[in-house]
Symmetry: C2
Subunit: 494 residues, 2 copies
């Protein structure tokens, strides 16, 4: 006889397989699809999400969950059921009509944004965004009522289960107290060592460099590949992970660091537990833990002196010798601090300012404290305060620069800075576990680092809550001091 | 209140949208996916096909069809219901267990074939093929009983509704009476004008040529694109048509003609009726009519003197000047007749021999007149008779060369030659409708040709049965004389 647990795993296996088709159609949409395909694709993906929502909210599941509680399940199976229930609760909260309306409004807003952003068309964009915000508030209200939290916290929980805006306010508030000063001092310090100019760099050489760095970082090319898209991302499924970057002939670090970042995401996906594949417990723990893996690779490892020293000969071999690529200048380039308009181009010290600004605006928006019309003025004010940058009238490089809000992904932004803090804490734990770490990196011997990540993060999927995962790996809960120490060490030391 | 007809259209719209996701995942599998992704992709696609089969065989449909008969529907709606019922009957005839067994046996046979073919391993292959044939016979038996036809005719009907083996025997029999002689005379005639050798040709130049020819042929790049795969195909969905070719640096005609052929398929797909999109009546009429569109572009138009003369300067501009590309030699290259082992490489005159041989063998196989063990000897005998080629012991380039039988797609092969005959008949009708056709082609002014196809074929989707479509377009039913006249004119005249 089939147990209730087995029946549940069958439903979630189906969901995983349909999710596979959606993931590949999504990757194709961003890397390959011609523009005219977008409406039909949007409709097909909306149809899929409605169907997956039906599967996940089938009335039979509730009974199966009750029956499974009476069955004797091991630890992993229990964690799997807990993740199933989490997904089920999140889904049953929303009526199908709302799911479909939000998906369609998101597709419409995102599609129009692709031409509205270059045209700096805030009027056109805000009309679509209002509908997305309206539906996101409706979603947040339903989730908040069920979880007895605030509306914004209910959305935040989708990306980092257990996190609250109260904790974020405390953590980000602390960051805001010391980061602007650190940033100013780093900029002043770097002004004393001017940079050599760079370029140009052939796209093909940049691609070869990216592939070579992916190999160094252990990317499995039998189960993934590198493509090109307007914005770098990591998509696909664990057995077929698609990462992307984009190339600019006048500059190669941005594409290379994009590849290193996405390779961090990819290695997590590729090393999620094989034996539970297709089940919720085999998924990545959270968006914030995912980001910790990409930032571990990019910020902790990839921009470290030792790593840059190790890859410098390879960079010169592919890009040709030039003064800018001599090691001291190459390191200065990779660690350069320069506040600017664009989040995705931001350096490690400016990035949290971009995130905190978005967090404050989106929380107020979801809580109903502000409206879409209020965004540009708030944006201008906060950019001036935090980074001293004037964005007035420049929507394109201001509040229209990101894709997240177009799709209604409110609650996502904080995970970037949470991920940066987790990454710093994990890297300190790696340093303690591998005393000779710097020498290994200088020699490109990274296997011990991968083994540590595999042992402490990758293999566990969603088996433990984030806080327990972090405690098991590092001995303590989130401690932002590691992030501060890391930044002071990198940008102010010597 | 929702009418039964509206409810039916909603079911078929869902099927179309899920089919969209399967089509894109299929294209990705053949153009992009890394090898290690294949198992997970196979499982996801199998899950999708089981689900789509469930949708199409849902018990509620029968009642909706009855109710829709009482509703007042216009012509197109009636044709749409007829196509829905056709799809529904085809699906409900087969028990789910048989569908699944055939899909698994087909996957197994095809997967093993990929290594058995290069190894010339007929013993290994035939063991798997027997199981595919057994299940295909079972399928044919069920379909034949329901339709009161022969087993093979029931399968043929899947690819060209209304066609019978009696009509094929008569048509192909006539072809066999004159084609071998025509072929011999063409080969003898061409021996008098030897060819200049070609090459090499950079892949990038070949790609530019392909894109340029697609543009000339009216391909809509806003709703489609060109990629690379092991075997050329046309896939995707009408709003996003993906065609592929493959490149060989020693030869460019094969890639270019592949692109022209697939562009023929693509223009049909891209111009299927927009207003009924997602409904069965908006689908291509049949596999054979689809092939008529690709062969219209490739064989009737693309290999004509006038077309080759028009594109020759473009070819020279991209490939560089060489004696082989001077116009008379370029035309001889594109119209060269050279019987060989491989169907997909066959010229226009040899191709029907390959098809008729396969038709005769697969019909006898499905009707139970022969067994899998009998295939090689029959293949050798028929290749010797029709093309004078010795295939004994060479299974790899003989009866193991095609993918169709591995998947159990019996009944498909005749559509290649039916398509060639339809194409010749359509082209004659175009000539009658556009007296100055040759001059227009010489000037690259092809819009009147596209308008004629749009008017007579593309816009109708599946609104009419094939025979009526052909009668409306050309004034008569299938008449193979046009194909003969075309071949005699091209290969024996002057």
């Amino acid at each position: 006889m089939t147990s209730a647990y087995q029946e549940l795993t069958r439903t979630f296996q189906r969901l995983s397989r349909f999710g596979h088709l959606g993931a590949i159609a999504g990757v194709d949409m961003q890397t390959t699809m011609p523009p005219g395909g977008s409406q039909a694709r949007g409709e097909a993906l909306a149809e899929l999400s409605v169907f997956m929502h039906e599967l996940l909210t089938a009335p039979a599941l509730e009974g199966l969950f009750s029956a499974a509680e009476q069955e004797s399940l091991n630890d992993v199976e229990q964690a799997n059921v807990a993740e199933m229930q989490r997904a089920w609760r999140q889904a049953t909260l929303l009526p199908a009509a709302l799911v479909e309306a939000k998906s369609l409004a998101g597709s419409r807003c995102e599609h129009a944004w692709r031409s509205q952003r270059p045209a700096n068309d805030w009027q056109g964009f805000s009309a679509n965004l209002k509908e997305v915000v309206r539906l996101s508030r409706e979603e947040a209200q339903l989730r908040a009522a069920a979880a007895s939290t605030s509306r914004y916290d209910a959305l935040l929980d989708l990306y980092e289960p257990g996190m609250t805006s109260a904790r974020l306010d405390a953590t980000f508030g602390a960051l805001k107290s010391w980061l602007p000063d650190l940033l100013q001092r780093a900029v002043a310090k770097q002004a004393q060592a001017p940079l050599q100019p760079l370029g140009p760099f052939a796209v093909e050489s940049q691609k070869q460099l990216g592939l070579s760095v992916m190999k160094l970082l252990g990317f499995d090319f039998n189960h993934g590949r590198l493509d090109v898209s307007a914005h770098p991302f990591c998509g696909g499924v664990p057995d077929d992970v698609r990462i992307t970057t984009r190339y600019n002939e006048s500059e190669f670090l941005s594409a290379m660091m994009g590849v290193i970042h996405e390779t961090g995401h990819a290695r997590y996906e590729q090393n999620l537990p094989q034996q539970w594949r297709g089940q919720p417990v085999a998924l990545a723990r959270s968006t914030a833990i995912h980001e910790s893996q990409s930032l571990f690779m990019e910020m902790q490892l990839g921009r470290s002196r030792a790593f840059l020293q190790h890859i410098q000969p390879q960079v010169v071999a592919l890009m040709g010798e030039q003064p800018a690529l001599e090691t001291p200048n190459f390191i200065r380039l990779a660690q350069r601090v320069k506040p600017g308009f664009i989040r995705v181009d931001a350096d490690e010290l400016s990035y949290p300012a971009h995130v905190i600004l978005r967090y404050e605006i989106e929380r107020a928006l979801i809580e109903g404290e502000i409206e879409v019309e209020d965004i540009p003025a708030l944006w201008d004010e906060k950019m001036q305060q935090s980074l001293g940058i004037d964005t007035r009238g420049n929507y394109r490089d201001g509040c229209m620069q990101d894709i997240h809000w177009t799709d209604g992904a409110f609650g996502y932004f904080p995970t970037y800075t949470l991920g940066a803090m987790y990454a710093a804490q994990l890297y300190q734990a790696v340093k303690r576990a591998i005393p000779q770490l710097e020498t290994l990196i200088l020699n490109g011997e990274l296997q011990p680092v991968f083994d540590w990540l595999q042992q402490n993060i990758w293999q566990h999927g969603s088996r433990f809550p984030t806080e327990q995962l972090l405690r098991n790996a590092t001995g303590e809960a989130l401690n932002p001091d590691y992030f501060r120490q890391h930044l002071e060490q990198r940008y102010l030391a010597d």
